[in-house]
């Protein structure tokens, strides 16, 4: 569904991503993990069109998307959330979702219908009239997901949607992710919460220093010595 081919991204002289390639298969949850500064969010920003890759190409359902603008990529069916939650602060929860629902809605009535459906789906219906600035973090993170879903994507990029949640919020969010998957939406997830990753992802890609160092099922990744080294560091006898 998504083919990332030999992507490199330079900032100044520094390579934030070097020669990264992978594919996302329709319907799966692909997790992207790696230590701080490994280039995960940069990769999202490249897929999402915020950055143009320095080298390489990205194809989405066969269309080359590495040279088109963010809003057009969204129209093609890729939606994302942000690591730092960015709801439209002074709008109500409902209005936030309506604003994104407009992309595929013919009129306001239809946009409202879509928004209501999604609020129910994500369990935010009761908070629909709250100004989003006043929501607790767990719900704000969910609002981000709701907003992305309102653009009716076929692929969803979730950037640390679980960070900072308490255990009960975490479980609610995991349920929602499973429900989204059941709808047939493909997902790429950046996450530090290893338990979540191991529980929900079909495959995992590990980045370190901007390079892909491993790819496999959760079980394989958990045993991969290179991954363990990237995370735990190599032992020195110095």
């Amino acid at each position: 569904m998504l083919d990332v081919k030999n992507i490199s991204m330079f900032f100044g002289g520094l390579a934030a991503l070097s020669n990264v390639s992978f594919s996302v298969v329709e319907g799966e949850i692909l997790a992207l993990i790696g230590p701080n500064g490994a280039g995960k969010t940069t990769l999202f920003n490249v897929v999402n069109g915020f950055y143009k890759p320095s080298h390489g190409d990205i194809f989405f359902n066969g269309t080359r998307i590495s040279n088109i603008k963010t809003h057009r990529i969204c129209r093609l069916g890729i939606a994302r959330t942000f690591q730092v939650v960015r709801p439209l602060q002074r709008m109500s929860v409902l209005d936030n979702v309506i604003a994104s629902a407009f992309m595929r809605a013919a009129d306001k009535k239809r946009a409202e219908e879509i928004a209501m459906d999604i609020l129910q789906f994500t369990g935010l219906y009761d908070d629909r009239n709250v100004i989003s600035k006043g929501l607790p973090l767990g719900k704000r993170k969910r609002l981000e997901i709701a907003r992305a879903l309102a653009t009716q994507p076929t692929m969803l990029l979730l950037d640390e949607s679980f960070a900072g949640l308490n255990p009960s919020e975490l479980n609610e969010s995991i349920d929602i992710i499973r429900k989204i998957k059941a709808k047939g939406i493909t997902m790429m997830i950046i996450e530090h919460h290893m338990k979540v990753i191991m529980a929900i992802s079909d495959r995992i890609i590990v980045l370190n220093y901007g390079q892909k160092i491993a790819e496999g099922t959760p079980l394989e990744i958990g045993r991969n010595p290179q991954v363990i080294e990237a995370y735990l560091g190599e032992a020195t006898n110095a």
Partner: protein
């Protein structure tokens, strides 16, 4: 020397630390390890006054410092080598070092201490007039450490000094930290790089999603299966 007692810390309305307590004793290297997002940097920022605990307190040499203005802590003897180095990129290497020694005794001994830093990191001596932003990642980390040492602190805190560095440089940095300790300094080291860290620390605490889940001597932690779980969740 430093005592952190039951602190709860929030970013806005997000709680990041839950009831964290630990102690750094004079002359030791204490490590705080944990995966991404476990709250390690938050802990250091709270100690250096950039964040305020909602509950709990931080004591340095017996007196509370969590209510102090952050810019006073360096005078009290706490230096913070921040995550991602945070150099003054438009200033030269030497000016960055000057910035580390604005106050008191450190100001008087500035030139002497600079020689000491250049002795530890000869490469910086060659580049003393170069703009810090043009240095390589490893050299920048050296400047950051040097800047911390310039304050002649009683306690020096390192926040992920290995971040983004190639393994050989990581080794070099860790050797320097060892040397700093051997000269009698107290060190609080925050790291993701667990094996290497445990190799040089006396004791360690493991942070997991904002809570301290393990503590002990490094030897005991090195072989603990739970440490691996804390990182990989397997």
């Amino acid at each position: 020397m430093l005592e952190v007692r039951n602190i709860d810390v929030f970013y806005g309305d997000v709680q990041v630390l839950w009831d964290v307590s630990f102690e750094v004793k004079e002359g030791e290297v204490l490590a705080l390890i944990g995966a991404n997002g476990a709250g390690k940097s938050t802990t250091l920022k709270t100690i250096s006054g950039l964040l305020r605990p909602k509950r709990g307190e931080v004591l340095f040499e017996g007196s509370p410092i969590h209510t102090e203005d952050p810019f006073r802590l360096i005078e009290k003897g706490i230096a913070h080598v921040p995550e991602a180095r945070r150099l003054f990129t438009e200033m030269t290497v030497e000016e960055n070092l000057d910035m580390g020694s604005l106050k008191g005794e450190a100001r008087k001994l500035r030139e002497k201490n600079k020689d000491m830093v250049f002795d530890i990191f000869p490469r910086l001596g060659d580049r003393r007039r170069q703009r810090a932003g043009t240095l390589s990642g490893g050299e920048q980390q050296m400047v950051a450490i040097g800047r911390g040492l310039m304050a002649m602190p009683k306690l020096i805190m390192f926040d992920e000094p290995s971040l983004g560095l190639a393994p050989i440089l990581v080794k070099e940095i860790f050797n320097v930290i060892k040397r700093i300790r051997e000269e009698g300094n107290t060190v609080l080291l925050v790291e993701q790089n667990c094996k290497q860290t445990l190799g040089i620390a006396d004791r360690a605490y493991v942070l997991e999603t904002g809570k301290i889940t393990l503590e002990g001597t490094c030897a005991s932690l090195l072989n603990n299966e739970h440490v691996k779980k804390a990182y990989l969740g397997v």
